[in-house]
Symmetry: C2
Subunit: 569 residues, 2 copies
C-alpha cells in the first residue's frame, strides 16, 4: 500500500442523504432525448455533465450515474405503454465520437459498497428490460454506436438486438473495467459476450483486457458487433436497419397508447402510501411491512374498458406502485432487512382481473401489463431482503397476488381465525389461479410453482390441480403451498420470532443464502448475471485492490498506478 | 463495532509458513480409518484433536481442517485405484454421538482470506470426487450418520448417495453456518439441499437458520436424509443398506488393484520436478511454467500391460503429477498468478496412449484413469490463476494434452519455426483426438471444444472433423483452436507482453473474469457450487460481519455476540 491519504470521501447517497426518487417524466429528462418518426423511436443519450444525482463528479463522455439510468428506465417503460406504434428503438448518442463511456468512475470510486451494488442491480434490471421489450413487446432495440462504447456503454449495446458501430478508424467497443479499474464489467457484459453473442472465450478474455477495445472488421469477425458502417453511409444505414427490424414487429397498426400518469405517493419517514399499496417502516425491528390492497371494484367488462381505465386499471396501477416501492426501499432503506408481505381485499376480484388479462393476452396493452408484472416480481426475487408473507383473514393471496407469497422466503397462513378479535371472520385462504401456471416466470425460466416444487412434479401437479379453490391453511400446508400454518394461539409468537430472528442474523449471509435458494434448478443468462457475475463483482468491489485507498478504482485518473496485493484468491 | 482487540492473529499457513504437502498414505493417516469387508469398505472419521495442520486450534467434535481433508481425498482416490473389489463405501464416525461438526471454526476464524477460499475449493473438489466415484466408478458412498452432522459434516453427507441418520432423540443434521457464524454453508450445502435432494426452498431456508438442525421423522419428511434408524437396529440396517447398494455396482469380481506408489517429487523454491512434469517458479514475473513431457516410450500393447505398469503407466503417472502440482501451486504459491502451460514430446505417442485407453474403456482401471484425468482437468478449470498455453516446435499438444491448451485462457502457437534457433525443426502442431470429443467433460457438462465453440456448431464440427491431423499454426488459428499464431519474429514479444500484462492486472478482477468466462453455456450443480455459491461465500468471508474483529466468525465461542453492520447490500 502506498499509504496515500484518501483523496475523496464517498459522496454518493448514504442512509443520511436525501432520498432517491425513481419517478420521472420525459419533459424533465436531463440526459436523454426521445424522438419519434412513425414506427421508429430514437432514444438519444446526451448526458448533462453537471447533472449528477449527487455532488462530487462530472458526467463526462456520456458516462452515467443512477440518475441517468432512472431516466433510461422511465423511457423504456413509457415506450412500451405510451407508444404502441413504436416497433424499433434506435439507441444512440448525442455526443460526437463517443456513444457512452459507461458508469462514471468517480461516482463508483466515491460510493459506499451498498450503493455500488444497488446501482448495478438497477442498471442490470433496466438492460434486462430492454431485452424483454425486444423479445416480448415487439419493440426491438438497435444500438447505433456513433462513437466509442466502452464499459457500461458497450454493455448497454449488448442488451440490444443488433449492434452497429461507426467505422471511422477511432471508434471501438471495449470493456476496460479489468485493465483500468480492477473490477469486472458488472452489468451483464461478461455474460452476454459469451452466452448471447457467442464470442469465443479466449477472444473474450483478450477483449476484456484491452482497454482500447476492438473496432472495425475485427469487431465484426469476433462477433462483438453485428456490422460496421462508414461515416458517410451511417445515417442511411441506421435508418434502413431500423426499418427492417420494424418489419417483424407484432405491434398493431392502429393502437393508441395510455398515459402513465404520476403515481399518487406520500413518502414519510415511517410510511409510504400509494392508492393501493402501503408500506410501514419499523426501524426498531428493521422491518418494512408492505400491504397491497386488492381491486376495490369488479373487473371491467372487456378489453376496451381496460384501455379506457389505462393507468388506473388495478393490475397496472398496483404493479407500478409495487415497482416504485421496491426501488424506493432497496435504495433508501438499507437497514430494513426484512420485508413482510401482506394483502387485503377480495380474492375473487383479483382472480377476475387476472382472468380478464389472460383472456385478452393478444391485446398489446394487456400483454404489456402482464410482462410488467412479471418484471416487477423478478425485481422482488433479486432483492436482497428477507421476504416473509403473512396470510391472514381478509387477505387476498390469489393468482397474481399469490405470486408474492410464492416469491417469499417463508409464508405463514393462519389456521382458522383470530378467535379473540374476529371469531366470525372467514378463515384465511389462498387461491391458485391461471396466473400462477405460466405467464409470470422467474429469471430461471420456471414459474414460482415449478421452482417451489423443483424435483417433485407430483406435488406440483397436485397443487396446480386445485386452481380456483379457496385453500384454507390445513390444505395449503398439506399441498406445500405455504411454509407454516399456526393457529391464532401460536401466530403472534411464531411470526414475531421469525422476524426478530431474521433481524439478528448477518445481513451478508442472508443475502448469499437467499440468492442461492431463490433460484433453484436451471440457469439462464439472467440468473447468471444476478447470481454468478454479481456475486463476483460484489466481492471484487469490496476488496482493497479495487476500492481501497490504493485500489484501481480510486487511483483511476490520478496518473498513479494501483498498488495490488498480488495474492491470488 | 465494539472496538475489541483481535484476540487471535491468523495462524493458518501463509506465504511465509511451511509448505503444505498433499501426498499422504493410509499407514500415516491421523484422522481416518479404512476397513474392508469384501465389497464393503468403511471409512471412519476419527479426528485427532491435537492433529491440526497448523497450531492454534483443536479439532474437537470431528471438526476438520485441510490436513483432515487431504487424508480424505487420498482415501477416496486409493479406494478407486487400489480397491476395485469395493462397491460400497460407508462413511461414518468413530466418535460417540457426533458424526462431524464441519470445518473447524477457530481454524477458519484465524485464517487469512485466501486460505479460507482455497480450503473450501479443495474440500468442494473432494466432495465432487465422492459423487464422481458413485456415478462413474461403481463405488457408492453411504453416509451412516451415527451422531449429529452439522455444517460441513452434513455437507459431507450430502455428497453421498444415501444418508442414514441414527434416531436417538438428539442426533440431527444441521447447517448452522448462517445463524452461528454469519457465513454460508460453503461446501455445496446450499446447492445440494435444493438442487440434488429437492428440499422445498422455504423449508431449506428455515433449515439453514436453525442452528440445532432437524432430526427424526421431520428430517425424512423434508428429504434432508433418506432414513432414520433406531440405535438398536443401527448396525444391522447400515450393513443391510451397504449390501443393497453394492448390488448395482459395475465393479468386476476378480479385479486386482494397483498401488499408488509415492510420487517422485523434488520440491525446491524455484522448481518442482517430477518424472514427467516440471514446474519452474519465476517470482520476478509471478509466473509458474508447467512443462509436461509426453510418453517416453510407445504405448503398451494391451490392457494387461496397463495393469502391469500400474502407477507407472504414463497417463496415470502424469495425471497424478499434474494433480499434485496444481494443489501445491494453488496452496503454496499465491503470488504466482500466471501459469504457462507447455508440453514436450511425441504427439503420436500421446494419441496412441489415448487410443489404448479409449479402446479399453470397459476395463475398470482404464475407466479410473480417464475419470481421474477428467477430474484433474476440472481442477485446472476452477483454479484462480491465468492459464496461458504455449505451443512451439517439439511440443505435443495432442488429444488428452491438447485439453491443457483448451483449458487455457489463451493459447499461442508458433507459426513456422524459430529460424535463428532451429530452422530445420518440425513446425509446431496440435492434434485433435478422440479424447477431445467426449470423455473429458468440464463441470458445465460440455467438452472443452463444445465450450470453446459455444453457439457455433459449424465451427466446432469443422474442428472436430480434423481428428488425427497435425494442424500447423495457420490451420489451427483458422479453425479457432488457438488464440494467436505469431511467427518467430513476434513470438517472444507477444508472449512477454501477455505474461507481463497479466501480472499487472488486479488479481481479484482476473479471478472473477476467468470464473465467468471459463464456464459458458449450461450450468450444473458443479458450476453452481464453484461459480455462484463460492462467489457469494468469498464476498461474505471478506466482510467484517464475518471476519472482522467483531464479526460472527471471530466471536464464535467467546460468549459474545457479533456486532453487525445492518445495511443490506
Amino acid at each position: 500500500m502506498t499509504g496515500l491519504a484518501v483523496e475523496e470521501e464517498p459522496s454518493a447517497p448514504s442512509a443520511e442523504s436525501p432520498r432517491v426518487e425513481f419517478q420521472v417524466e420525459p419533459t424533465s429528462y436531463q440526459h436523454w432525448r426521445l424522438d419519434f418518426d412513425g414506427p421508429i423511436a430514437t432514444l438519444t443519450m446526451d448526458v448533462d455533465e453537471q447533472g449528477g444525482l449527487v455532488p462530487g463528479y462530472e458526467l463526462k463522455l456520456n458516462s452515467y450515474d443512477l440518475g441517468v439510468d432512472i431516466e433510461l428506465y422511465d423511457a423504456v417503460q413509457r415506450l412500451r405503454f405510451e407508444h404502441p406504434e413504436v416497433r424499433t428503438v434506435v439507441l444512440t448518442s448525442g455526443k460526437d465520437k463517443i456513444f457512452c463511456a459507461g458508469a462514471n468512475i468517480r461516482m463508483l470510486a466515491g460510493s459506499p459498497h451498498p450503493w455500488k451494488v444497488n446501482f448495478c442491480k438497477f442498471t442490470n434490471e433496466t438492460r434486462n428490460g430492454i431485452e424483454d421489450a425486444t423479445a416480448n413487446s415487439g419493440q426491438t432495440y438497435l444500438a447505433a454506436l456513433n462513437g466509442t462504447a466502452s464499459g457500461g456503454g458497450y454493455e448497454l449495446a449488448l442488451a440490444c438486438e443488433h449492434i452497429m458501430l461507426i467505422d471511422d478508424r477511432s471508434s471501438a467497443v471495449s470493456l476496460p473495467e479489468l485493465p483500468l479499474l480492477g473490477v469486472l464489467p458488472g452489468t451483464g457484459g461478461l455474460t452476454r459476450v459469451v452466452d448471447k453473442r457467442f464470442v469465443r472465450r479466449d477472444r473474450a478474455d483478450y477483449f476484456a483486457t484491452k482497454s482500447e477495445g476492438v473496432g472495425g472488421k475485427k469487431a465484426v469477425d469476433w462477433k462483438l458487433v453485428d456490422e460496421v458502417v462508414p461515416r458517410q453511409k451511417w445515417a442511411d444505414t441506421v435508418a434502413e436497419r431500423a426499418a427492417e427490424l420494424s418489419q417483424n414487429s407484432t405491434r398493431p397498426d392502429d393502437a393508441h397508447g395510455i398515459t402513465l400518469a404520476p403515481l399518487t405517493k406520500d413518502r414519510a419517514d415511517d410510511a409510504i402510501t400509494y392508492d393501493h399499496l402501503r408500506v410501514t417502516l419499523d426501524r426498531a425491528t428493521r422491518t418494512a411491512e408492505i400491504t397491497i390492497a386488492g381491486p376495490q371494484a369488479d373487473a371491467p367488462a372487456d378489453v376496451a374498458a381496460i384501455h379506457k381505465q389505462g393507468a388506473a386499471f388495478w393490475p397496472l396501477a398496483v404493479t407500478r406502485e409495487l415497482d416504485d416501492a421496491i426501488l424506493d426501499l432497496r435504495t433508501n432503506e438499507l437497514e430494513l432487512g426484512t420485508w413482510v408481505l401482506r394483502t387485503t381485499g377480495d380474492a375473487a376480484r383479483v382472480i377476475a382481473h387476472d382472468d380478464l388479462l389472460l383472456a385478452n393476452d393478444d391485446d398489446w396493452l394487456v400483454n404489456e401489463i402482464v410482462h410488467y408484472l412479471k418484471r416487477t416480481l423478478k425485481r422482488l426475487d433479486v432483492t436482497s431482503r428477507s421476504l416473509i408473507a403473512l396470510i391472514d383473514p381478509g387477505s387476498c393471496f390469489a393468482g397474481s397476488l399469490l405470486e408474492l407469497a410464492l416469491a417469499a422466503d417463508r409464508s405463514f397462513q393462519l389456521f382458522g381465525v383470530f378467535e379473540d378479535v374476529a371469531p366470525d371472520a372467514e378463515p384465511a385462504a389462498i387461491t391458485v389461479g391461471a396466473m400462477n401456471l405460466g405467464p409470470l416466470p422467474m429469471g430461471n425460466g420456471l414459474t414460482r410453482l415449478q421452482t417451489r416444487y423443483y424435483g417433485d412434479d407430483a406435488a406440483r401437479e397436485a397443487a396446480e390441480a386445485r386452481v380456483g379453490d379457496a385453500l384454507l391453511a390445513e390444505d395449503a400446508e398439506q399441498l406445500g403451498l405455504v411454509t407454516f400454518a399456526p393457529d391464532d394461539i401460536d401466530w403472534d409468537e411464531e411470526v414475531r420470532i421469525t422476524v426478530e430472528e431474521r433481524g439478528s442474523f448477518s445481513p451478508d449471509a442472508l443475502t448469499g443464502l437467499e440468492a442461492n435458494y431463490r433460484f433453484v434448478g436451471p440457469e439462464t443468462m439472467e440468473t447468471k448475471i444476478f447470481g454468478r457475475l454479481t456475486a463476483w463483482q460484489n466481492w471484487i468491489f469490496y476488496r482493497p485492490n479495487a476500492s481501497g485507498p490504493a485500489g484501481a478504482l480510486r487511483k483511476f485518473g490520478t496518473g498513479q498506478r494501483a498498488d495490488f496485493d498480488r495474492k491470488r484468491v
